[in-house]
Each structure stands twice: as structure tokens, then as C-alpha cells.
Amino acid sequence: MGIMYKHNYKENDYPVIAEYEGGSILLTSLDAIANWARSNSPWPLTFGTRCCAMELMAIGEPHYDFARFGFEVARASPRQADMILICGTINYKMAPVLKRLYDQMPDPKYVIAVGSCTISGGPFFYNSYAVVRGADHVIPVDVYVPGCPPRPEALLFGIFQLQKKIMRERNFKKKNIKYTEAKPIVNKK
């Protein structure tokens, strides 16, 4: 909890908006509390269409347990889910269904595209008549996890990146506050 400052991140970490002007201590603390709560329990929607669903099942099993991070309550109904892990190829037949599921999810909602099929069509980019080349043609994606399929550790890392992205959100903004731009974290040497 607290405001994210530069010195909280190690050197190899993902560059992030680290400081901003303005913002009262009350609102930024509320922001931090809300983001902490949202990032530590994103409930995924079970959406596995193809082989990457095996990796989704793998991180649910005891070896690469995702219950210790708070994601284990995977809801089958989109009305109760926070995020959607798109595991698998999206066909032209599946694309309207995916859009409908995304529309039915309540805000705040996040999308992780798992595997190369959802990033860019993957191995089906050439010579396929039935594959949508990337899930971001259908719904907006927050995090892309490359791999075919990605290792379970890579998938968990992708969800951690989503957690960091959630921690950067600004939900309680005062109207006339000026925020500085994001500066990349430079090596302190």
C-alpha cells in the first residue's frame, strides 16, 4: 500500500509511471487500496478454446498453483469474472461469442491474450481460412503472453504484469490535477 515510487522497483523491472504531481494523500491512498484489492484477486473467466487451455489448467494445479496469488476462483459466468484469459485460437465462428462474453463482463475488466494464436494468429497466420489473426481484432487486450504454448511460469508472469498494470490505475482523479508523463526507469549507475 502506499504510493509507488521509483525506489520500490528493482532495476530490471517493468518501466512504470512512477510519480506524478498533485493528488491529495486521501485520494491516492484510496486509489492504492482499490488497486491493491483488484490486483490481488482477479477472478478469471474460464475461456479455453485450444492447447493454451492446457497451460491454464496447469497453473491451476498444485505444481504451479495460482491459488496463492488470488486467481483461483475461476468463474464460468462472465457476469462474475474480472478478467478473461484468452487461451486458444479465435475462429471466425468464435469471435462474436468472445465479443458477447466481453460485453457481458462488468467493469473493471482486463484481458490477457495467451499464446501466439491470440497475439497474431500464430501458426495459422498463413493459409488459413477460418482463424482471426489475433484476438485484439475482437476485444481490447491488456497483456500479451507469447509462447506456443507459454510455459506455466510465463503465464503466471503475464498475470503478474497485469497486476502491475492494475496498480498503476488512477480511479479517483481530481479534475484539475496535472499529471506528469511516464518516465522510463533509467539505470541508477
Binding site: 471466425y92 497466420f125 498463413y126 493459409n127 488459413s128 481460412y129 477460418a130 489473426r133
Partner: protein
Amino acid sequence: MTNEELKEYLTGQFPEANVVQGPQFVEMTVSAETLLATAGKLKNAKETSFDYLMNLTGIDYPDCISVVYHLESTRLHQVMVLKVKTANREEPVLDTVTPVWRTAKYHEREVFDLLGVKFNNHTDLRRLFLEDDWGYPLRKDYVDEVRIISR
């Protein structure tokens, strides 16, 4: 029966058919007119009771479309391959083997959907996966400007 015995039995029973030993199984090529009769005999004969149709697929050759049946006998534990060629590629027509093996109902629908082979006397010949006005995607000359990025 071993492969050699099966090959000799089939050459004896079906003199017009072409029986060879493939890489793994005995392969028999019959003409399109005798397909249904051959299938019935293969299923009902005691020496080769091929009661299980494992697979039914189509192959696109330059001059015709052929359909391949993989048959297994659950009682005698033997496998063979049956091949049929259609007359041409513009109007490929074959007899259905659904009276002999019921599982062919859906397999033939798939071949009709993706390759365009019509089957006579099929009770429910309609498309399985694709929409009604789609082409036949598994043909080698299928062109789709909108969806396919070709390489």
C-alpha cells in the same frame, strides 16, 4: 490373418479390385460402382468381418477426388484400407456406405462440406461446419482473397 493372407483372400474374392500391400496395411482400390457391394461383403464375410469403420476421408488428386476408408475388424483384430476414386472433380459422386457402417453418416457430411463429394442415398447430406454458400476449402485450388494470407 496376416497381411499376406488377407491380400490373397481379397484378390481371390474381388478379382476386379486392385490389392497392394501398403506401408502398413493392405490397400484395396475398387471402382465407384462396386463400392456398396464390396463394403457389404467385407462386413458380412466370416473370414474378414470388418465391422468398424475407423476413418473416412477424402483426398484431392489432380484429376479426381478419392475417398479412403480405414476398416478394422474388432473380432479378428485386422485393419485394411479401401480406396475409391470418383470420375472427375467437377461433379464427384459416390455411393454412401451408411447402410453398412452407420458412422459414415457424419464422416460423409464432412467430406461433402470440405471437399464437395456428393453421396447418393445419404439420408441427411448437408454441411457440417461451414455455411451453405462457402466453397470447398480442402481442395487444392481453393482461393479466398479476404481471409487467407497466402505464402
